[in-house]
Amino acid sequence: MTTAQSQAVHETGADARRPERRMPAEEGVWVFLFGDMTVFAILFGVYLFYRGQDPALFDASQLKLNQTFGVINTLVLLTSSLLVVTAVRAVRENAFQLARILTYAAMACGVIFVANKAIEYGQKITHGIVPGTNQFFMYFYVMTGLHLFHVVIGLALLGFVVKLTRKPALVDREQGYLEGAACFWHMVDLLWIVIFPLLYLVK
């Protein structure tokens, strides 16, 4: 085998290992996701700006939060994301039933998140801690509330994914919808990955 032939074989092998670059979901979905992520990023920035004006108040208020809720919710969402990406890959392998089970498991994680948040809100409200308590808790309720709203939308989208997995096969457009719903769920995870440390950990 000549060097050129050997190189050609080597390159073909490398190409076979490297999947073709393709857009996950529709372009419009990404415009929406980046828009949403940027709105949250501005909110994170505003929070840190006001924290800088009165760090003592923010630190004292943060002590009233229970970090365990935040950690458990982070682990729950990370696990749900693994389940969703595995479901998407299962669909590509035509394992629709497995994809459905994985999506249901991810939805269960989402429900655990919501239940956890409801318990946390309940505890805070019982102790008289509401959005009007001070600036920290105003941001706490606004950020976690907006995020919770996204979790609920994400759960509805995962329900749509379950519906798609009941079809015998997916056309390209439906595959795009599936990936779009999955990416929305990952964004919900991604936003919590930033909200949790900012509110619960950063002193």
Binding site: R21, V71, S81, L82, V85, D189, L190, V194, V202
Partner: protein
């Protein structure tokens, strides 16, 4: 099939993300570091996790370079702005 699907780099990334979450928790609740160092480490760790969620869960590692670049820029700018505001606001 599930075992085949889980025997992938995505699962290793999930394990890393779990470990990073626990590391950030330790940095947030109990350590000897000054608060400012811990806070900057926590923010960097969070945005590193964001990078991995994008690359492996959102599958941007297989996406067109432009989309990957936009996501990368968002992550770096967010990290810069958040650290800047934390330190100087």
């Amino acid at each position: 099939m599930l075992i085949v699907l889980l025997r992938d780099r995505v699962t290793a990334v999930w394990l890393f993300l779990i470990a990073a979450t626990l590391a950030a928790w330790i940095l947030g609740v109990g350590h000897e570091l000054p608060h400012r160092y811990a806070a900057v480490c926590i923010i960097v760790l969070a945005l590193t996790k964001v990078h991995f969620v994008g690359r492996y869960f959102m599958e941007l590692r297989h996406a067109p370079a432009a989309l990957t670049a936009v996501f990368g820029v968002w992550t770096v700018v967010a990290a810069g702005v958040l650290i800047g505001l934390y330190l100087f606001a």
